[in-house]
Amino acid sequence: MKVSYNWLNKYFDGKLPEAEAVADAFTFHAWEIEDIEKVGNDTLLDVKVLPDKAMWALSHRGIAKDLSVILNIPLAKDALANKVSLGAASTIGIVLETDNCRRFVAAHITGVKVGPSPEWLKTALETIGQRSINNIVDASNYVMFDLGQPSHAFDARHIGAEGFKVRHARDGEKLTGLDGIEYTFLQTDTVIARNDTDEILSIAGLKGGQHSGISDDTTDVIVEVANWDPVTTRRTGQRLKLRTDASSRYENGVVPEMVPYGLSTVIDLILEIAGGEVTSYSEVVNTTTVLGQVNVSLTKINNVLGLSLTTDEVSTILERFGWQYRANNEEFLITPPFERTDLVIGEDVIEEIGRIYGYQHITAVVPDPVPLLDINKRFYYSEVVRDSLIAFGFSEIFTSSFRANDEIKIANALASDKGYLRSSLKDNLKEALQKNAPNADLLGIRQIQIFEIGTVFNSSGESLMLSIGVQSPSGYKAKSDEPIITEALQSLGEQLGHMVQEKSEGGIVEINLGTLIDQLPSVSNYQNFKQPSDVTYRPFSSYPAIVRDIAMWVSGEEDETNIVSILKDTAGPLCVRTTLFDRFEKDGLTSYAFRLVFQSTDRTLTDNEVNSVMDNVYESVRERNWEVR
């Protein structure tokens, strides 16, 4: 919620510390401040009101109240401090046909003068990103952001003599909202209608209708303040794709008991800035909040928080909140204030005590080690599989669980190419083989050898699978791929003590690893843990690589590492890999064949560019009297 510092400060007679200090107080004692920015001579705080506190904290009053507890500065004023009485009533008809309306009150104000709002009100609303419309609408909006209670002002001319009827909509009924959008309803939606003509006036808890709104020539208004069921408000809003400042407050369960405070505050403000007088009002109470008392012991408080607070320290915090409570034998019995339906169990109160006291006072305690009661068999054997395959030159990849087309369809997919869950790993593996194949030289490997261990999904459930794939450089494929997999599976079977029967096809095999592991004996210890790699990742170039081979005869005494370093030096920084791929000896000479891979991080290299580098390499090789073959 966007919160104006100046607005908050009205609750403290201007005695707040500066905005940054306020933001820090919130961060460590209440909730995150997502943003803080200067707006005119005000500071706007974007307060991340937590969902469990949203029934009272989506308001400047709620946020000021919490701040007063955190900073231990009393509120200079509090609209909720005293019960409001709306005075004598009541001639406006209100018919409630649904329990979705928990409370409904309407007040008729005659003789108002619609016009621009006073500067302070305009500024207050504009600072928090609201548009000033006119004094009546602004008053209603202001009170919503001030107290958290939405309200709506109708032009009395459009209501008729018989008042309101709150009812379910009929399928297909329509209303054009204040936003100019036409909404079409279902029977499950709740609307406010004219009692005489049944014509829909507004969508309950969500939006007023365009037709019945305030216009420049309005003189008599009917202010409606109500409370709506959170669930039905949320469902209608979701279906209509309509979420408003009002509906988010109802969804979060602002209590029906706020209604009279809301009405009285809106009326006062309208009379102050638009004149007029209240001629009648009516109220229907459908649901009352039943608040229980919360019992919590000092022992429990300390046990949960890891603190050693005293009864006095806890009492002091409860008093800062201003809550009614009884302390007896280190047991606290707390009566929450009417707006705080978030305080239900002991832990709710413990959190309040903990955050106000300050979590920074909690001492870290490392739990005493206990023996490991269970070894995760799947993880254990998956590690055996990995180590076995890695020793055979296979690298492990992770691929997406999503596929463009498969068996299990996602109802709300992110994108059409991610519309299904994978039913096997091998299709992903095949794509990964193809994608990696052009990079074999760059990676300094003869062929792409990869595997994945992951979950797949089909109509009978999910399974843990292992897929292994090999792709040799084009041309050799048929000859070499299958034997590599066969050999790797043979070795894997020996490691696991359980032969793997599956045969590879086209250089890929997929094995139900979950089923396989189920057949293996249980284990009592993890294998010796290998420290993970401690490298720092280097981004790779997305430009293509160019490969050049060089073969040479050198005398038997020449050291291989020396040759490599000479090649690297002369090839320069564009040469990203030098791999020895052949070596043999003859007549006291050794033949070395190296593959040099060239790649730039910022451009596509040309053949000419690489050829000229290679000329230098040949040159330096010849200078050493090594014979280029």
């Binding site: 937590l50 492990e396 669980s401 003869r446």
Partner: protein, 239 residues
């Protein structure tokens, strides 16, 4: 066959290290399904239907399976494990989770989460702090401070955000000395204990959940989470 050994995926390496550090304190590696029942993913974790707190996680639903979701967190395993075990309980749950949100360098629709749960008679936020300090000091090197800030997750009460700060010469330079927001945590909500068949008047515990991809990114300086899932050996073979 390639003569040189292949490479283990960085996330698996992290998972192995995480498991080995927590195993020292007796935390058992638990797991559960990725295609999860809604009641485990939400209801039993104190996230009621039609409550705004369900909006906190964007969920993938499955066509024709109205009772299932792709799990949005590893927390369902808390309930699954507690249903079959009485305290004392110490588990970690490393596993894949799914969120229906647009992907960018720091967000993937699929990623790995690390859940932790400890339930016993006197487990407090102090033990949460201690466990995490122990873990991060071992994982990153150096000395770790843990800072808790108030927050909300439906399955814990109190709920906290956890920040960490690494100090000391052993700490990686790129992470040293600054506070880093690292995870959500809290004391297991009594409703969750009750739902899983554990008496909340006798037992209490802490739970935490963090992104393993994030741990890997911090440890290895990887700047884009999506790189872990491309199957590209130009990434994997660096590790």
């Amino acid at each position: 066959m390639n003569l040189k050994p292949g490479h283990k995926h960085p996330l698996t390496q992290i998972m192995g290290e995480v498991n080995s550090i927590f195993a020292e304190l007796g935390f058992v590696f638990a797991d559960g399904p990725e295609l999860e029942e809604i009641r485990y993913n939400f209801d039993l974790l104190n996230v009621p239907k039609d409550h705004p707190s369900r909006d906190m996680q964007d969920t993938f639903y499955i066509e024709g399976k109205p009772d299932n979701v792709l799990r949005t967190h590893t927390s369902p395993v808390q309930v699954r494990y507690m249903e079959n075990h009485q305290p004392p309980i110490r588990i970690i749950v490393p596993g894949k989770v799914f969120r229906n949100e647009a992907t960018d360098a720091t967000h993937e629709a699929q990623f790995y989460q690390l859940e932790g749960l400890m339930v016993d008679k006197n487990v407090s936020l102090g033990h949460l702090k201690g466990t995490l300090e122990f873990f991060f000091s071992r994982f990153f090197g150096g000395k770790t401070e843990i800072r808790l800030r108030p927050s909300f997750f439906p399955f814990v009460e109190p709920g906290v955000e956890v920040d960490m700060r690494l100090t000391g010469d052993d700490a990686p330079e790129k992470l040293r000395g600054r506070w880093i927001e690292i995870m959500g945590a809290g004391m297991v909500h009594p409703n969750v204990l009750k739902n899983a068949g554990i008496d909340p008047t006798i037992y209490q515990g802490f739970a935490f959940g963090m992104g393993m991809d994030r741990l890997a990114m911090m440890k290895y300086g990887v700047d884009d989470v999506r790189l872990f899932y491309t199957g590209d050996l130009r990434v994997v073979n660096q590790f």
